[in-house]
Each structure stands twice: as structure tokens, then as C-alpha cells.
């Protein structure tokens, strides 16, 4: 591995998030460095997905500060995360069911397309040129993920594993500097998992994309991630390189129960 891990680009400080009376996250701090693969693990209900939702602005934490490239982020809406080059996938596939694979991945480039609806309607000016340019980029993503044969299939008709791959494609199409993956391998068989691991490592390696991922398969997490943060009941109980985390008392307790 020749990649170079850079400076901290995302820094979360003392994040707390509540839904009514329910505490989802309590006083969590951790950071993400440029080019690294950062895993978030923890038992079900530990607050992992909430954490991702805080990072890309779907949820707004009541307390804490978020620094993005050293600047504090104040007001945050989901579409602003996309403008800052943060893309993500979802735990339960969130593809646009009525559209083809190609169109789904094309939507990933929507923030980069500047033509307005009048240009589209009249099909003049930037409209046609843009459609073609971005189609080319999208085809690169399609090649990269090896899904050329299903390009024009409506995503609703695809099997689960391929849908997950298309969703990754939609996120990649945005050429993100940071990619948030919410259980990208859940429900996959071994072969599909291997493929997905390969794609994640390639993305990280070839494009230098920083990756934050949630995953339950410990084998995968320990293999591919640079650093791991462990959550339990909305609190951080461990943080470090895989080997450190593996031997952390609290982490073992959380996963195997107090008896061990």
C-alpha cells in the first residue's frame, strides 16, 4: 500500500443528538483523516447510522461542533453536504426505483450540471453538451463497477447485491472527496462481499477518496480499515487502529457480553 494518509479533514467534537427524550448520541468526538478508510462499528442501535446522518446533515445534533477542513460548519442541510463533495449510500437501499441504472447514476452528478430547465426544454445551450459530457463520466463509473450489461434496466428489477452496487455507483458519480457507506455489504454472500471490498479499496486507492463506513462483518472491517471507532448505546467506547480496538476490554465486553 503506497497511499499516504493526510491531515484531519473532518473533526467531530462532543456531538450529542436527541430525538425527543431518546438519546441517540452522547458526547462523541472523533476525526477522519484525508485518504483513510475509517470504520464505525458497534452493536445494533449503537447510533452508527445516526452518526453518518449527522455528518451529512440529515440530522442536526443539539450539541457539539463539526469542523470540515478546519472550518466550523454551522447550519447544515443535506444538499449542502453534496456540494461539499460528501456522498453516501444507505443501509436500506435508497435508489430511485422508477428509473434505470443509468439515470440513477446520472442523478449522482446533478450538482455538477449547470443547465437550467429552460435550456433543457428547448434543448439548446449547455443542455445537450452537458448531458453528453456527464454521460461519459457516468460510463466510466459503470465500467469501474462492471455493470455495463444492466445499464438500461430499471433498478427495481435488479437483485439486491447489484442494487447495492448501483447505489455505490450513484455515490461515486459525484466524484466525492469523502464517501459515507452505511453497511455496504449487509445481506451479501461471500463472493459479493469480496467484490464490494475490492471496489471500496480501489476507490480509496485510485481516486484517493476518504471513506467512512459502517459494517458488521468484523473480518472485513479489520482487513480494510485504517482506523476504527466503536460505539455502544450512543457512546464512544473505543477508537484506534484495528489491532488496538480488537484488544480493547470495553469493546470485547460490548460485543460478547460482560461475562467474558
Amino acid at each position: 500500500m503506497s497511499k499516504k494518509i493526510g491531515d484531519v479533514i473532518l473533526d467531530l467534537q462532543n456531538i450529542s443528538l436527541r430525538f425527543g427524550g431518546v438519546k441517540a448520541l452522547t458526547d462523541i468526538s472523533f476525526n477522519v483523516r484525508e485518504h483513510e478508510i475509517r470504520a464505525i462499528i458497534g452493536p445494533n442501535g449503537a447510533g452508527k447510522s445516526s452518526m453518518l446522518n449527522v455528518i451529512n446533515g440529515v440530522y442536526h445534533p443539539q450539541e457539539g461542533k463539526i469542523f470540515w477542513h478546519g472550518n466550523e460548519r454551522k447550519k447544515m442541510e443535506p444538499h449542502m453536504a453534496a456540494q461539499q463533495n460528501i456522498a453516501r449510500t444507505f443501509q436500506n437501499i435508497a435508489l430511485f426505483k422508477g428509473m434505470s441504472v443509468l439515470d440513477n447514476i446520472m442523478t449522482g452528478r446533478i450538482t455538477k450540471m449547470k443547465a437550467n430547465f429552460i435550456e433543457h426544454a428547448l434543448w439548446f445551450g449547455r443542455a445537450k453538451k452537458e448531458e453528453l459530457e456527464h454521460r461519459k463520466k457516468v460510463e466510466e463509473v459503470i465500467d469501474f463497477l462492471e455493470i455495463q450489461h444492466i445499464r438500461k434496466t430499471p433498478v427495481g428489477r435488479l437483485p439486491y447485491g447489484l442494487q447495492k452496487r448501483v447505489e455505490l455507483g450513484r455515490a461515486l458519480a459525484a466524484e466525492p472527496s469523502m464517501l459515507l457507506l452505511d453497511e455496504p455489504m449487509a445481506g451479501m454472500n461471500v463472493e459479493e462481499k469480496q467484490d464490494m471490498c475490492r471496489f471500496i479499496l480501489d476507490v480509496n486507492d485510485q481516486f484517493g477518496t476518504t471513506i467512512v463506513l459502517i459494517e458488521h462483518d468484523m473480518g472485513v472491517v479489520m482487513d480494510i480499515s485504517d482506523r476504527v471507532v466503536v460505539l455502544d448505546y450512543g457512546k464512544k467506547i473505543g477508537d484506534g487502529v484495528p489491532d488496538e480496538v480488537k484488544n480493547n476490554e470495553d469493546v470485547i465486553k460490548a460485543y460478547l457480553g460482560a461475562g467474558h
Binding site: 430511485f96 446520472m106 426544454a121 453528453l132
Partner: protein, 358 residues
């Protein structure tokens, strides 16, 4: 065999992304337009122009407008007729009050006025979804019709808000026969359908569909929900507004606010459901179907009644019509939720192999 794309290789993305990638579709469309522009005017009678073809095109345009909002952007509206009313009255007032405004400019302004009103009534869509929004659009339906009835200025102080369309004169040529009006409507509808097709195949349309299919994911990708939804309301209302202006100027000649009733809104919704939700072609198929059905029933029902010796009053015929409408909607939703447009697509797929099924 006739309908087969084998041998038509696409060597560039431009070729793959053109409006109708399959050659037979292009030929078919050109033929259809040729017949509509040159064939029909030669043969059709006055009755066909003013009772069938003109209303067909106008309602297809309105259905197209609703389809943009409901079929593509996923926001159900029950107030389509009201937006048509805005268009009709706006066109009337522009013609009446702006000296020398060309009629086509009035139509565009009518569309823009409707778009503005559409944005206003689309605002609730930012906070509410689904049925709540559908009910909210009923507010538009009732409020707009009421305003048009009660503010005398809007109808130039005519009693109960009736307005009479001005004569249509474009560049010195008077469009006064049904055939002229048909050609005018046809040209406008064809251009607007093309524009709609262009919008839905580009990123504007993809943003609408993304919001329709999963709004949270859409916003995470960077689609601004507010902007996208309001744009759908605006464009949809523009189409309905122009349809309304044509309805007054090229179809009925004089209209009253109550004519743009909730019932009319429902009929346009039915056109979209029967024709195909989220399909440009479907808007036309649906409009044709819903308009022709009552005519068909009017002709056949008494005949059937005679056959069995049943006494059929005209009231019964109209009751049966309403029943058939209702039953058809349920039937389509259950059996073919994508409507006639989907049936057409299936037929085309069959045609690829026909007459050799394997």
C-alpha cells in the same frame, strides 16, 4: 420483424441519447405529425375539429401538465382545472387590457400567470406530502374558482364571471374556422410536448423523478427539494395555464369559472391514470380514451338496450357513463398501473418478434 432495432448500432452517446433512439419510432412519429398537420385538415369535418380533435389536444396538454407534477415529480394535485381557469382568465385579461399584445404572447403570459399561482399553491408541498398535499390542492381548486366568480374586475364586470374570447389574429391571418384553430392548437401542443420530453430526459426530469421515488436520498445527493418541487408546480401549472387559455380561445369561445370544476380536475387525473403515470405519450392516449369513451357509450348503450328491449333513459346513460369511468380507474390501477402507455410498450415488444414468436 417490422419493429426491430437489430442492426441499429449506437456508436456515440449522442446517438444513444437522442429523443427516439429506435429508427422505427422516428419514422412513425414523422408520419403521425404529417398526418396530423396535412392529412387531417384535408378530410376532417367541422364536427371532428370542434368536438373531438381540438378538445382532445387541449386536454392532452392539460394531462401532460398534471403528469409532469404527479407522474414525474410525484406530487398529487386535484386542482388542475383551477390552474386552467387561471390561464383562461389571464389570457383574456392580457388581451383586454394590454393594447396590441399578440395573442401568442398572451398565451405565454397566461401560462406564466398560472405558473406563479401554481408556485403559491405548491408552497405547502415543502412541508406536507401525499394525501395532505392532495387535499391542499383542493384549496386551490375552490379558492381560485371563487375568486374568478367574485372579483368582477377579472371578468371585466360580466355577470357571474362569464368571459368571451377575442378573435385570434396572428400576423394578419385570422384563425376563425375550426380547421385553423385546430392547426394552431396542434402546433402549440406539439411544441410543448417536445419541450416536456426534453425536460424529462435531462437532469431536470431526473431531479423530479428522484424526489418522487425517494426524497431523502434525493436531498443527500444534492437535489434541492424546495427548488425541484416548486419547479414542478410551476412547469405543470404553465402547461395547464396554456391549456386553459386554448380551452377558452380555441375550443369553447366563452367560459365561466364554474366550468373549471372539481369534476374536470378529476377527469384530467383519470386521463393521467388511464394513459400512464409518468409518460408523455400516456397523456395523449389517456386524453383520447377519456374523451372518446362517453361518445362511444352514447352510441352503443341505446343500441344494447334495444337489443334486450330495456327502457334506457338518457339519465341512465349518463349514470352508466359515470360508473364506467369509476370502474375503469379501479381496473387500470389494479391491472395495469402504468396505463395505456405501458400496454403500447408491451405491444411494441411483441412486435419485435412478430410474426415469428421465437
Amino acid at each position: 420483424m417490422l419493429y426491430r432495432e437489430a442492426g441499429q448500432f449506437k456508436t456515440s452517446y449522442a446517438a444513444d441519447q437522442q429523443l427516439f433512439p429506435i429508427r422505427q419510432d422516428r419514422i412513425g412519429l414523422v408520419l403521425l405529425l404529417a398526418v396530423a398537420f396535412f392529412g387531417i385538415p384535408l378530410f376532417a369535418s367541422e364536427y371532428w375539429f370542434s368536438a373531438i380533435l381540438i378538445p382532445f389536444l387541449i386536454f392532452a396538454l392539460a394531462a401532460l401538465g398534471l403528469n409532469i407534477l404527479t407522474g414525474y415529480a410525484g406530487q398529487l394535485s386535484l386542482g388542475t382545472a383551477a390552474f386552467m381557469a387561471v390561464g383562461a382568465y389571464a389570457a383574456y385579461n392580457f388581451q383586454l387590457r394590454v393594447e396590441g399584445m399578440p395573442i401568442l404572447v398572451s398565451f405565454i403570459c397566461a401560462g406564466l400567470t398560472a405558473a406563479g399561482v401554481g408556485i403559491l399553491f405548491g408552497l405547502p408541498s415543502l412541508r406536507i406530502k401525499g394525501f395532505y398535499l392532495a387535499v391542499a390542492t383542493l384549496a386551490a381548486q375552490f379558492f381560485i374558482v371563487w375568486c374568478l366568480t367574485k372579483f368582477p374586475w377579472l371578468s371585466n364586470n360580466s355577470s357571474s364571471g362569464v368571459i368571451s374570447a377575442h378573435n385570434i389574429n396572428i400576423l394578419g391571418y385570422a384563425f376563425d374556422t375550426p380547421r385553423d384553430k385546430y392547426l394552431l392548437v396542434l402546433a402549440i401542443v406539439a411544441l410543448m410536448a417536445l419541450a416536456a420530453k426534453n425536460m424529462v430526459r435531462s437532469s431536470t426530469g431526473r431531479a423530479w423523478m428522484a424526489v418522487r421515488d425517494m426524497d431523502v436520498a434525493a436531498s443527500v445527493i444534492g437535489i434541492r427539494l424546495m427548488h425541484t418541487k416548486l419547479l414542478a408546480f410551476a412547469v405543470s401549472s404553465f402547461y395547464c395555464g396554456v391549456a386553459g387559455a386554448l380551452y377558452a380561445y380555441c375550443y369553447l369561445g366563452s367560459v365561466e369559472p364554474d366550468g373549471f370544476s372539481l369534476d374536470m380536475s378529476f377527469r384530467i387525473l383519470f386521463m393521467v391514470i388511464v394513459g400512464g403515470v409518468g409518460s408523455i405519450l400516456g397523456s395523449f392516449l389517456g386524453a383520447g380514451f377519456i374523451l372518446l369513451l362517453p361518445i362511444f357509450l352514447d352510441i352503443t348503450l341505446p343500441f344494447v338496450a334495444d337489443l334486450f328491449g330495456l327502457p334506457f333513459s338518457s339519465a341512465t346513460v349518463s349514470h352508466i357513463q359515470i360508473m364506467v369511468f369509476g370502474a375503469l380507474i379501479m381496473f387500470f390501477l389494479i391491472v395495469e398501473p402504468h396505463g395505456l402507455a405501458r400496454l403500447w410498450q408491451i405491444a411494441k415488444e411483441k412486435l419485435r418478434l412478430w410474426p415469428f414468436p421465437h
